[in-house]
């Protein structure tokens, strides 16, 4: 396949549905060959953005550019894009072959050439020889592959994927995810992916844009957004987090000391949390997997130690999550990948959580 990928730029994209703002003043640039993901809960505006990029929806304001060319008013059939829909949108009255060939027919590709290109696309997704079937005769995973073949067979400049894996069962989803990333790297095509699944986003993407209520919250590499979430929403949406309110006491080279509302002091690494001054109101953000449960009388040993009572244990075999009520009354979640250790503690027992200053992330409270 001879793909000529484009870069995609959106400027000031804005879209309302009746009284609700679906996408508010969105601007970003997606590089050529990138695997770019819009991540967010349902209703965050990610699909609306994708549909505006596809041309299926006209923005109220703003523009969409492919390689710098303004395509805002160009209808989808002239944008040369491939798209996979959440429900695959296979045409039930056409065979697999006809589905895949549809775009080639529309492009007036010579008849003799179509058969070969359809077969090639089907081979690419592992469905060689299935062209004669009807969509209704295929499994969910196979339908997904047909949708993918249909999207790439036209050698699009841009591939759009709208939650393509959400209708598959867990096992198949993992398998398809791997194949998808392989295919994208192999074709080198600019790909925009929409999902509400953080694992998919982190694993597939070169960059992730986290959206919330029509606004772009953060944009960056998977590691960026996970390690350095810009705000509590991003932190919580990506991986989950405990949030404790506090005030910066002192800032030294060794670390930042934050006094929690219960009076206990938490030390955070100064390297990771820069730009704070004593007196700043902050939110202390702790990932559950960074918290270690220890007996109540355990020594801090260079880490932070918070005391409380174990309220709830959820045993999942390979993983256990616990809820701890801190002395100040706040509830936090901890999570351990090796539950055998933690099973020692009974519900209702006094307990302490230990965590390293490296794992403490401070988020500045909005003024």
């Amino acid at each position: 396949m001879r793909l000529q990928p484009v870069d995609v730029e959106v400027r000031g994209l804005h879209r309302r549905f009746r009284d609700t703002v679906a996408v508010a003043d969105l601007s970003l640039l997606i590089e050529r060959g990138e695997f770019f993901t819009f991540l967010g809960p349902s209703g965050c505006g990610k699909t609306t953005t994708l549909r505006m990029i596809a041309g299926l929806l006209e923005p109220d304001e703003g523009e969409v550019r492919f390689d710098g060319r303004d395509v805002t008013r160009v209808p989808p059939w002239h944008r040369n894009i491939g798209m996979v829909f959440q429900n695959y949108a296979l045409w039930p009255h056409m065979t697999v072959h006809e589905n895949v060939a549809f775009g080639l027919v529309e492009r007036r590709v010579p008849r003799g050439e179509i058969g070969g290109r359809v077969e090639e696309a089907l081979r690419l997704v592992g469905l060689e020889g299935m062209g004669g079937r009807l969509p209704s005769q295929l499994s969910g995973g196979q339908q997904q592959r047909v949708a993918l073949a249909r999207a790439v067979v036209i050698e699009p400049a841009l591939l759009l994927l709208d939650e393509p894996l959400s209708n598959l069962d867990a096992k198949l989803r993992v398998q398809m995810r791997n194949e998808l990333v392989k295919l994208q790297r192999q074709l080198g095509i600019t790909t925009i992916y929409v999902t509400h699944d953080q694992e998919e986003a982190l694993m597939l993407s070169t960059r992730v844009a986290v959206m919330h209520r029509g606004h772009l919250m953060q944009i960056g590499s998977p590691q960026d957004v996970y390690e350095r979430p810009a705000d509590p929403f991003v932190a919580d949406f990506l991986g989950g987090a405990n949030f404790l309110a506090g005030e910066v006491q002192s800032v030294t080279g060794g670390g930042v000391a934050v006094a929690l509302e219960g009076g206990e002091v938490v030390r955070a690494s100064a390297a990771r949390n820069t730009g704070f001054a004593p007196g700043d109101r902050v939110t202390v953000c702790l990932r559950p997997e960074a918290l270690e449960l220890v007996p109540a009388d355990e020594a801090a040993g260079g880490g932070n130690l918070l005391h409380g009572v174990l309220r709830l244990r959820n045993y999942l075999g390979w993983l256990m999550t616990c809820e701890i009520e801190l002395r100040g009354g706040a509830l936090i979640r901890a999570q351990a990948a090796n539950p055998r250790v933690q099973l020692r503690f009974a519900e209702g027992a006094p307990i302490a959580v230990r965590f390293s200053p490296e794992d403490v992330l401070l988020l500045r409270n909005p003024a």
Binding site: F85, A89, L90, W91, H93, E106, R107
Partner: protein, 555 residues
């Protein structure tokens, strides 16, 4: 708002305005305008102090109620047996029980006269064997019998569907609480099925009041529809009373349809919810119970098929006078309607096909706007297009006559109402709701993403519509069209008002004309056979196309 959509909506509104709103508006206007202009209720008030009209009102309502009552007596046992038991021939029973729908009640009436009338087969048998003097078809009774035998499948279908959809666990819960047998039915099942039944019964009532063909064929004039017709045709097109009667009919009809819709909208608790268990196979029957159930089915279905039998016999009869069966047979009746006077059949086909085509195009456009349109106020379109469901045929006919007699078509120098086009338009309006529902349902099946997918694959909207949407909705839309065709082919109420010359008259009026000539009953029955064949084939086709096992007639 999309300007293209707005333009399409304006066009559709204009069409519906002219052909739906204007006629009904004209009827209302005449009925509510005083002698010196201005709105008045005095004409309406006069209706209620005129003995003949009050008698007609009472007769119409009484006949409708009895039709529903007898229909219920025929339908309920059958529905219960079919929904609750499993026995050989169960599906055959379901199919046969819907057959009465293919025979228009005014056709059935001709046959019933021949079977149950003063000189009918059953009457003569009763007289000769038992010395009984039966008089089953006299006056209202004949109308009620003809309508009940035609309409009971409506009730049968609604109740069967409701019974099958009753969540079994609700019943089992009732059993665990200690109710069983008749008590279980009465305390758990009946209350669950009741709303569906009432909704179905109300619609049957509306259809029964709407049907003026049966009273006409049986020569009974003291009912609302016939009175409206008589006022308009013999007293004159400007006679206020005719319009007042129309308004009364509309009010009855609208009240019933609204009540029915309201009940249906509140009924969800009775039907399958998420997590509810699908209905199970019914209890298997054996021995004398099986014999009893089969006997019951045979008796009810037998009664329902009497009109079919009578019509076919009569259509081949040359002389059938005071004998159990015809005493001389002939093919002459079919020769008459196919060779000597084929215009009835030809006209019917032309009008019904025309009405179906127009209705389908309109309905598809309306459904598209309603589901995909980006234009404010599109609900009005739905509302107007569905309005004819509550408009009796007489009223449509009278409204059309009122409005379109004043409009002369350029070129042919005739009022629009005097040309045959008026039939196509009236049938189209009258059955538009059927087409609209079918288009609606069909388009609903097509997820918008299928169209989007075609768009991003490179197909502009029109090609996407043609290659993707159209093939997918075609079956349903055509099924709707066939339904329009079928119901238009046997439309009597609007026809009798609109027909002006015999050359233009369709089959339904032909049946009336033949039945009004002393020697024409055979030919009327032959036309009736044609009507049955058209309706039966069309219904079968519509069901095949729409891909549902359910009778599309219950739309």
């Amino acid at each position: 708002m999309d300007p293209g959509h707005a333009a399409l909506m304006a066009l559709l509104l204009a069409i519906l305005g002219v052909f739906v709103v204007l006629p009904i508006g004209a009827v209302l206007k005449v009925a509510l305008t005083g002698a010196e202009g201005g709105v008045t209720l005095s004409h309406l008030a006069r209706f209620f102090v005129t003995p003949l009209y009050m008698e007609s009102l009472a007769n119409s309502i009484v006949a409708g109620l009895w039709t529903v009552a007898i229909g219920t007596v025929l339908a309920l046992p059958l529905a219960f047996v079919v929904a609750r038991y499993d026995f050989p021939g169960r599906m055959l029973v379901v199919t046969l029980a819907t057959l009465p729908l293919v025979i228009p009640p005014f056709v059935g009436a001709i046959a019933l006269m021949q079977i149950f009338g003063r000189a009918g087969t059953v009457t003569l048998l009763a007289q000769d064997l038992f010395g009984l003097r039966l008089n089953i078809m006299e006056g209202l009774r004949g109308i009620i019998l003809a309508q009940a035998l035609h309409f009971f499948p409506f009730i049968f279908l609604t109740v069967t569907t409701a019974l099958v959809n009753v969540d079994r666990s609700l019943e089992e819960m009732g059993q665990m609480m200690g109710a069983h047998g008749w008590r279980l039915q009465r305390r758990v099942v009946f209350p669950l099925v009741l709303p569906s039944y009432v909704a179905g019964a109300l619609l049957t009532f509306v259809k029964a009041v709407d049907d003026i063909g049966t009273p006409f064929i049986l020569g009974f004039k003291n009912m609302l529809g016939p009175q409206a017709y008589l006022r308009i045709t013999t007293v004159g097109r400007d006679d206020v009373d005719g319009y007042v009667i129309c308004v009364i009919m509309v009010i009855i009809s609208i009240v019933c349809v609204l009540a029915s819709n309201w009940i249906v909208s509140r009924r969800e608790y009775a039907t399958l919810q998420t997590g509810a268990r699908a209905p199970e196979q019914g209890r298997t029957l054996r021995g004398w119970r099986l014999a009893g159930v089969l006997g019951l089915c045979a008796a009810i279905i037998g009664a329902g098929l009497v009109p079919h039998l009578g019509v076919v016999l009569l259509s081949f009869s040359k002389v059938w006078s005071l004998s159990y069966l015809p005493s001389a047979y002939t093919l002459g009746n079919f020769a008459e309607i196919f060779l000597r006077a084929p215009r009835f059949v030809v006209n019917t086909l032309v009008y019904s096909v025309g009405a179906a085509l127009l209705a389908v195009v309109l309905a598809a456009a309306i459904a598209y706007l309603l589901q995909r349109g980006r234009v404010p106020g599109k609900g009005v379109l739905d509302w107007i297009a569905m309005m004819p469901i509550a408009l009796p045929g007489v009223v449509v006919g009278v409204g059309f006559l009122r409005v379109f007699y004043g409009i002369t078509l350029p070129g042919i120098d005739q009022p629009l109402a005097a040309t045959w086009v008026i039939f196509v338009l009236a049938y189209m309006v009258r059955r538009l709701p059927y087409a609209l529902r079918a288009s609606h349902a069909a388009l609903h099946q097509v997820h918008p993403s299928l169209e989007d997918a075609a768009g991003v694959s490179g197909a502009p909207r029109l090609r996407a519509f043609r290659r993707v949407v159209l093939p997918l909705i075609l079956g349903g839309v055509v099924a709707g069209g066939v339904l329009v065709f079928v119901t238009a082919a046997v439309e009597f109420s609007a026809t009798i008002i609109l027909v002006s010359r015999i050359e233009q008259s369709p089959l339904a009026y032909g049946i009336y004309v033949y039945s009004q000539s002393a020697l024409g009953r055979g030919a009327a029955a032959a036309l009736g056979v044609v009507a049955i064949v058209i309706v039966a084939l069309g219904t079968y086709l519509a069901n095949r196309l729409s891909g549902r096992g359910k009778m599309a007639f219950t739309l």
